[in-house]
C-alpha cells in the first residue's frame, strides 16, 4: 500500500507540468504559441516530452511501475487475507495493566461467570473470541486487510479499464452545417482517433442530419452576451435505411447510438456565398464555416476558395460579424446573436496552390500565388455583392447558416472504470478507518472473596484516538454487565485504589501525552 501510494504521489507530481504547460493532445495551438514565445526553451521542453506529458515514456514508466507493484502485491495479500480468515486472537498477556489501555474493577461473580459475561459483551460487539484458563482474548478489524486487498485489486482493474478504452474505443469530430447530414464513416469525419484495435469498419453506422440550431444569449445586465442555451434539433438513423428519429442535442445531453455517444461541443456561423466567375458561370454556391476568433461577439474568421473560377482562381479571406457595429472606424461585433450580420472580405486572384504541395487547411489561404485585388473594403449585408475588378467575376453574400461541431466517442472501458474507482475508494476507506484492535479480559479471585477483573486493550495505531473511546465504552459495558448480574449490593464509590479511576477508566499511559 505504501509503495502504491508513493507511486501514485509520483504520478501526481509528474502530472504537474502537464497542467502548467500547454499540451499537444489538449490544445495544439497553445503549444505553437509557446514555441513562438520561447524559441530557445521550447525545443528543450519538447525533448523531455513536456508538451505531451500524459503520453510520455517517463509518465508511462511511472504507471507501469504502479501496475507492477499492484500486481506483485495482490497475490501475497490474498494469501494473508485467507490466512487471517481462520486466525485466532493471540493469548492474553499475563499482566494486562502493562497494556496501553487498561482498566480494573471488582465483582461478586465467580471468575468463570465474569469471563462468560465479558465474552458475551465482546461477542455482541462482533469481536472474534479466544478463551483460555482465566482469560478471554478478542480481536476485531479484520476487514482492514480485506479493504487493502480490494484497493489494490480495484486499482488494477481501473488501469485495465483505461487500457480497454484506449484499445477498443475511438474519438472523432465532425462539423455539421444546418441542413446537412453525414454518416459515421472514417471518410466523413473531420478527425478520427481510433484505438489500437479499432478499424474504420468498426464504426457504428449511424447517420445524423441537423435540422435546426438555436442559441440563446443573455441580453442585458453584467452577463450580457453570455450563452444561456444551445439546442440542436437533429434527426438520426442507427443503421442505413432505418427510420429517422428526432433528438434534441444539447450540452450535457448527448445522444447515445449503438454504444457510441455524440456530444455537442461547439457552434459557429457559416456565411453563404455565391461566386460567379469571369465567364458568367456560378462556380461556388454554399455555406462556408467560419471559426470564432472571440467569444463575446463571436467575430468569426474563414476563407473561401474558388478553384474552378476562370480566368483566374479566386480566394477570399473574411470576417463574419453577427452584430456588426462601427466602433470608432473599427468594425466589430457587439453581440453573439445575428442581430446585424455582416461580412468583410479581402479578395484575391491567382493560383490557390491546391494542386501541388502539402494538403491545405480549409481555414487558411496560401497567398503566395495570389494577388490582392483592389476592392474597396466595405462590409456586406446579406444580399449584397462585390464586383471584382478586371472582369474576374462577382461574389454575393446571400445569407448565413449556423454550424455545430460534434464529438463522437466510444469507450467500452467507462463502466468498468467507474465500478473499479468506486471499489478502490471503498477499499481505501476500509483500510484507513478500520484498525485491528484487541481486547483482553482476565478474572481472578481477589481479597474478600470478590473477583478482580482486569481489562486491557491494544490497537496498532490510533490516529483519531477512537480506540481510547471504544475501550472506555467496552470496559464500562463489561463492568456494568458484571454489576447487573451480581446479587444486589450497596453502591460502591468509584475511584478506589490507585491506577484505576473507577469505571470507566482511561489508562494512565496513553501514548504521547
Amino acid at each position: 500500500m505504501r509503495t502504491a501510494l508513493v507511486l501514485l504521489f509520483l504520478l501526481a507530481v509528474a502530472s504537474v507540468p502537464g497542467s502548467v504547460l500547454p499540451q499537444q493532445g489538449i490544445d495544439p495551438q497553445a503549444v505553437q504559441q509557446y514555441y513562438a514565445a520561447h524559441p530557445a526553451l521550447a525545443p528543450l521542453l519538447d525533448r523531455l516530452s513536456l508538451f505531451n506529458v500524459f503520453a510520455s515514456p517517463w509518465f508511462a514508466a511511472i504507471y507501469l511501475l504502479l501496475f507492477a507493484s499492484l500486481a506483485g502485491c495482490v497475490i501475497p495479500r490474498a494469501f494473508r487475507l485467507a490466512g487471517s480468515a481462520r486466525q485466532q486472537p493471540p493469548r492474553a498477556p499475563a499482566n494486562l495493566s502493562r497494556l496501553p489501555l487498561a482498566a480494573r474493577h471488582e465483582t461478586q461473580l465467580t471468575p468463570d461467570e465474569a469471563l462468560a459475561a465479558a465474552a458475551a459483551v465482546l461477542t455482541g460487539r462482533r469481536f472474534r473470541l479466544r478463551t483460555g484458563d482465566g482469560w478471554v482474548a478478542a480481536e476485531k478489524g479484520y476487514l482492514r486487510e480485506a479493504g487493502n486487498l480490494l484497493f489494490h485489486l480495484a486499482l488494477l482493474v481501473l488501469l485495465g479499464a483505461v487500457c480497454v478504452g484506449g484499445m477498443f474505443g475511438y474519438k472523432a469530430n465532425r462539423l455539421l452545417v444546418v441542413g446537412d447530414s453525414f454518416a459515421n464513416t472514417a471518410t466523413a469525419l473531420d478527425a478520427f482517433h481510433p484505438g489500437r484495435a479499432v478499424s474504420a469498419a468498426d464504426l457504428q453506422p449511424f447517420t445524423i442530419a441537423l435540422d435546426k440550431f438555436e442559441a440563446s444569449y443573455i441580453t442585458s445586465g453584467a452577463l450580457r452576451g453570455q450563452p444561456s442555451r444551445f439546442d440542436a434539433l437533429i434527426r438520426y438513423a442507427p443503421q442505413p435505411g432505418a427510420a429517422m428519429r428526432g433528438y434534441s442535442l444539447r450540452v450535457n445531453h448527448p445522444l447515445t447510438v449503438d454504444g457510441a455517444r455524440v456530444f455537442l461541443i461547439g457552434h459557429g456561423y457559416a456565411p453563404v456565398f455565391r461566386v460567379t466567375d469571369g465567364t458568367g458561370r456560378v462556380v461556388f454556391n454554399g455555406p462556408v464555416p467560419f471559426i470564432a476568433a472571440e467569444q463575446a461577439g463571436l467575430t468569426s474568421e474563414g476563407v473561401i476558395k474558388v478553384p474552378d473560377a476562370r480566368p483566374r482562381q479566386l480566394g477570399f479571406a473574411g470576417v463574419f460579424l453577427p452584430t456588426a457595429v462601427d466602433a470608432g472606424g473599427k468594425l466589430g461585433s457587439a453581440f453573439p446573436a445575428p442581430l446585424n450580420p455582416a461580412v468583410s472580405l479581402v479578395s484575391y486572384a491567382g493560383n490557390l496552390g491546391m494542386n501541388s504541395g502539402p494538403a491545405q487547411s480549409v481555414y487558411q489561404l496560401d497567398t503566395s500565388g495570389l494577388r490582392q485585388l483592389p476592392v474597396a473594403p466595405r462590409p456586406l449585408a446579406p444580399g449584397q455583392s462585390i464586383k471584382l475588378p478586371d472582369g474576374y467575376g462577382t461574389l454575393t453574400f446571400t445569407g448565413y447558416r449556423q454550424w455545430i461541431s460534434l464529438a463522437i466517442t466510444y469507450d467500452p472501458g467507462t463502466l468498468p472504470a467507474l465500478i473499479a474507482g468506486m471499489t478502490a475508494l471503498a477499499g481505501l476507506l476500509l483500510s484507513f478507518f478500520i484498525r485491528r484492535r484487541r481486547m483482553f479480559v482476565r478474572a481472578y479471585p481477589g481479597p474478600g472473596g470478590r473477583t478482580v477483573v482486569d481489562v486491557g486493550g491494544l490497537a496498532r495505531s490510533d490516529a483519531a484516538g477512537a480506540f481510547e473511546t471504544e475501550f472506555t465504552t467496552l470496559a464500562g459495558e463489561i463492568s456494568s454487565a458484571h454489576r447487573g448480574s451480581e446479587p444486589a449490593v450497596p453502591a460502591r464509590s468509584p475511584g478506589r485504589g490507585s491506577g484505576a479511576g473507577g469505571p470507566p477508566a482511561l489508562a494512565d499511559q496513553t501514548e504521547g501525552e
Binding site: 504521489f9 495505531s461 483519531a464
Partner: protein
C-alpha cells in the same frame, strides 16, 4: 427564468451583515484571550475543557472525578455535561462570541439560500458563489466541532480567516447574480460542486487547525525545554496540542470521502458533458494531486502512526494544492473548468 433582483439584493446585504457579525465575533474571541477569566487562572483549570475532549463519547462518568488533585493526569475524564464545568469554562466573552457567530451564520445561510432562490439553481456556479458557500460550510462545520468537542477558543482562528475571505468575496470578486452557461446547466452541478464545496469547507477548517496545532506544539515543546516562550496566555487556554491534532485529523476524515466522491462525480459529469471521464485537464490534474496528498496524510496516520508535526505538514501541503487549484488554476490557467466568472 428571470433573475429575481430583490432576492439577489437580499443575499448581498445578508453577506454584508454576516461579515459584520463575524468581525464582532472575532473581536469577542480576541477579548476573551485578552481579558478572559482563564487567562489569569492556573494552567490546570484552563486545560479542563480539553480533557473533556479526549473523553468524548465515553460512558457517563461520575461527578467528582474531575476535581482531582493538581498534577493528576489530564486523561481522567472531567465532569460530564450538566455539571456546570463547561459553562464556567466557556467564559463571558466566549459566550458573546458564539452568539455573534451564530447570528452571523444565520445571515450567512440566508445569503446563500436567497442567492440560490434568486437564480433558480444551486448557488455555487462561479467563484464568488463558491467562496461564499465554502465559508458557510466551514463555519457550520466548525460550529458543530466547537459545540461537540467544546473547542470554543479555536473560534478566533477559524472565524478570523472566514471574515477575510468573505470580505474579499464581497469586494474583489463580487459577481452579480446571473444565469449559468449551458455547460453548467446540469443536475451534476448540484452533485459534483456540492460535494467538492463541502469537502473544501472541511479542509479549510482542518488546515486552520493544523496551523494552530503547529504553533501550540512549538510553544509546548519550547516550554518543556525551558526555552523562552511568547503568547503564553493564548496557548495556555487552548486545548493541548495533541487534541488539536486529533480534531484536525477528524476533520480531514470527514472531508476526504466527500472530496473523493466529488472527483468521481466530476468524472461521471465529464463523461456526460465532454465524452471522456478523465482528460488531465488542469483542474482535474490538481484535484488528483490534492487527493493523493490527503490520502498520503491518512495513510501516514493509519499505518506509520505518524502524528503531530510531520502529518500536519503533509496536510498543509494538501491544502496548498487545493488552494492552488481553486485560485491559480481556475483563474490563471485556462482549461475546461474556467467558470470562475472573473475576467
Amino acid at each position: 427564468m428571470p433573475i429575481n433582483d430583490g432576492l439577489a439584493n437580499l443575499s448581498h446585504y445578508s453577506f454584508v451583515a454576516t461579515v459584520v457579525a463575524y468581525a464582532l465575533a472575532v473581536l469577542a474571541f480576541a477579548c476573551d484571550f485578552a481579558f478572559g477569566r482563564d487567562t489569569l487562572g492556573p494552567l490546570r483549570s484552563a486545560r479542563k475543557p480539553a480533557a473533556d475532549l479526549v473523553a468524548v463519547g465515553a460512558a457517563p462518568s461520575s461527578p467528582g472525578s474531575g476535581t482531582s488533585e493538581p498534577g493528576s493526569t489530564p486523561s481522567v475524564p472531567a465532569a460530564g455535561p450538566g455539571t456546570g464545568q463547561d459553562a464556567r469554562g466557556m467564559g463571558r466573552w466566549v459566550r458573546v462570541a458564539i452568539w455573534l457567530t451564530a447570528l452571523g451564520l444565520v445571515a450567512h445561510i440566508i445569503g446563500v439560500v436567497s442567492r440560490g432562490l434568486a437564480v433558480h439553481r444551486v448557488p455555487w456556479g462561479d467563484m464568488y458563489e463558491f467562496v461564499t458557500t465554502v465559508t458557510c460550510v466551514a463555519v457550520i462545520f466548525f460550529f458543530a466541532l466547537m459545540l461537540r468537542y467544546r473547542a470554543y477558543r479555536l473560534g478566533l482562528f477559524v472565524i478570523g480567516p472566514v471574515v477575510i475571505l468573505l470580505g474579499l468575496a464581497e469586494t474583489v470578486i463580487y459577481t452579480p447574480a446571473g444565469q449559468l452557461p449551458p455547460a453548467l446547466q446540469s443536475y451534476w452541478l448540484a452533485i459534483h460542486v456540492t460535494s467538492i464545496t463541502l469537502a473544501t469547507g472541511a479542509f479549510v477548517v482542518a488546515a486552520l487547525l493544523a496551523v494552530v496545532y503547529l504553533l501550540a506544539d512549538r510553544h509546548a515543546s519550547r516550554a518543556a525545554a525551558g526555552l523562552p516562550t511568547r503568547a503564553d496566555a493564548i496557548f495556555r487556554i487552548l486545548p493541548p496540542p495533541k487534541v488539536i491534532d486529533q480534531l484536525a485529523y477528524r476533520t480531514v476524515v470527514f472531508g476526504f470521502p466527500l472530496w473523493t466522491f466529488g472527483i468521481i462525480a466530476g468524472a461521471i459529469w465529464a463523461d456526460m458533458a465532454w465524452g471522456r471521464y478523465w482528460g488531465w485537464d488542469p483542474t482535474e490534474t490538481w484535484a488528483f494531486i490534492t487527493w493523493v496528498v490527503y490520502a498520503g496524510y491518512l495513510h501516514a496516520r493509519a499505518t506509520a502512526g505518524w502524528r503531530g508535526r510531520k502529518s500536519a505538514y503533509i496536510q498543509l501541503v494538501g491544502f496548498g494544492c487545493l488552494i492552488f487549484n481553486t485560485v491559480v488554476v481556475s483563474i490563471i490557467i485556462t482549461g475546461l473548468h474556467s467558470y470562475a466568472g472573473l475576467s
